[in-house]
Symmetry: C2
Subunit: 245 residues, 2 copies
DNA sequence: CGCATAGTTGAGACTATTCAAAAACCGTGG
DNA sequence: CCACGGTTTTTGAATAGTCTCAACTATGCG
């Protein structure tokens, strides 16, 4: 409902980077929000398996999609930044195959599936932009497969740091070479398919090589080109170009 | 155009498993195909970065999405079975961030993006089913992240074998406990984030434990429950339930 | 029949893990 | 303002899982 909530503004900014969004579409998008809610860090936002009738837009804070294994290990499949639709795919899947959790305190907006369905019936272009945003998630997840499958530990971490920098930038949350990332080394380990101990050692290495620092919940990038080289980071997969979709 | 091409039938079967598809929608879906084509094994079907104006439906044979790293290593992000839309996401991404290659000789159908756009404008329910099918790819890729990130080598391979068994079944290409999988151990290695040598050893182990055999391009599952246990395979993520979407 | 590709096996090396413990940090309450 | 308990980070040593390198065998195709 709120006219220009900064969180909604971030979600719109994310769309605007990829295509022209008409004022009418922005109005429909904003009007689709039924309510906003605050959830504490480490709480679940959506639990795997429950039938859903609304989708969740992340307005503030960091969240993630994750799955647990029988032995208690956790794999984070995607880290979400403000402006991300964390379970838009739940609209058509009807039930999620993974959990969505709050990495920090978060503020979310709830969008009824009826409203989304209405958009697919009457606003096909806006519907395509929403579809696109789920495709972007998929692209990010594919890049994670590459990272975990074929890159070494230092490279995986460097890649994650590069990706989040650009994604935070789109949401207007990164300054020149730095951004807030108030998560733990264990969260990074769960994202990169590593152990916390090894993440710690690799972070030290990246710091020692003057590439970046991760401390006190903040990332500072000292040598972007160097970090990109270590990560073999190519931002093509983020599709940061405005085109008719 | 061909009325009931078995390949198109497989694609429709994949949709029908998840929701009711009306005869009118089947007609529109079939009519969206502009032409079919044959491509030899190991050829590229879609190259990363090129601007696309049509999407590709896999009618026969096996294909994959993959990326190469600078050192020549390859990571397969998804294996495609007949009936899969291998680059439906290209409709809105406009350019792929990865390659699509033929693992075997394949037969494909090309669908112009104009036709897809038309579907989003005039057939919202069918459009949602297409959207759904890209969400299913994303779910499969998320499960791969979990596999590569947190499962050991034997478990990853077992998981892939279980997944492909169910997906081939949906396309009507699996018999009781067996299916054709004419790919190499190197392909499996590139899918699971392993080396061919290690895949070979793990396949021997799975065979030795009486769980499954992969030989001569065919998978034979001797002990489904045992294989599921090793893989920690839970098919929820394949969303094999028919629901209004 | 011969060559090319794919699969198999062994030995040794290396990356990342496990286990363990200490140090630093943080919010809370006295 | 400091003490306290819990969490997170850091460090070390030993281990395990997977990789690398290398060679040999089997298979399929022309």
């Amino acid at each position: 409902m709120p006219g220009d909530d900064p969180g909604i503004e971030r979600a719109l900014a994310k769309l605007r980077v990829r295509d022209v969004v008409t004022p009418e579409e922005e109005r429909v998008f904003t009007a689709s929000i039924a309510e906003t809610r605050v959830i504490a860090a480490h709480r679940q936002i959506v639990r795997s398996g429950t039938t859903l009738s609304e989708s969740t837009l992340l307005l503030d804070g960091l969240a993630c999609r994750y799955k647990d294994l029988a032995n208690g290990e956790r794999q984070i499949q995607e880290v979400h930044v403000p402006g991300d639709y964390v379970d838009l795919h739940g609209f058509l899947l009807k039930t999620l195959d993974h959990n969505v959790g709050a990495l920090t305190d978060v503020r979310i907006a709830l969008v009824p599936h009826d409203a989304l369905r209405e958009i697919t019936e009457n606003h096909p272009h806006l519907a395509r932009l929403l579809w696109f945003s789920t495709l972007l998630d998929a692209a990010i997840q594919r890049e994670r497969i590459l990272s975990i499958g074929r890159r070494n530990a230092a490279s995986r971490i460097a890649h994650l740091i590069c990706e989040l920098y650009l994604r935070m930038q789109v949401s207007g949350l990164a300054e020149e070479g730095r951004y807030a990332l108030p998560i733990t080394q264990t969260d990074i380990a769960d994202t990169c398919g590593l152990t916390p101990v090894h993440v710690n050692r690799m972070l030290r290495r990246l710091r020692g090589e003057g590439l970046m620092t991760f401390r006190g919940g903040e990332v500072v990038i000292h040598d972007w080109d160097g970090l990109v080289r270590v990560a073999e980071f190519d931002p093509t997969y983020l599709h940061l170009d405005r085109r008719p979709r």
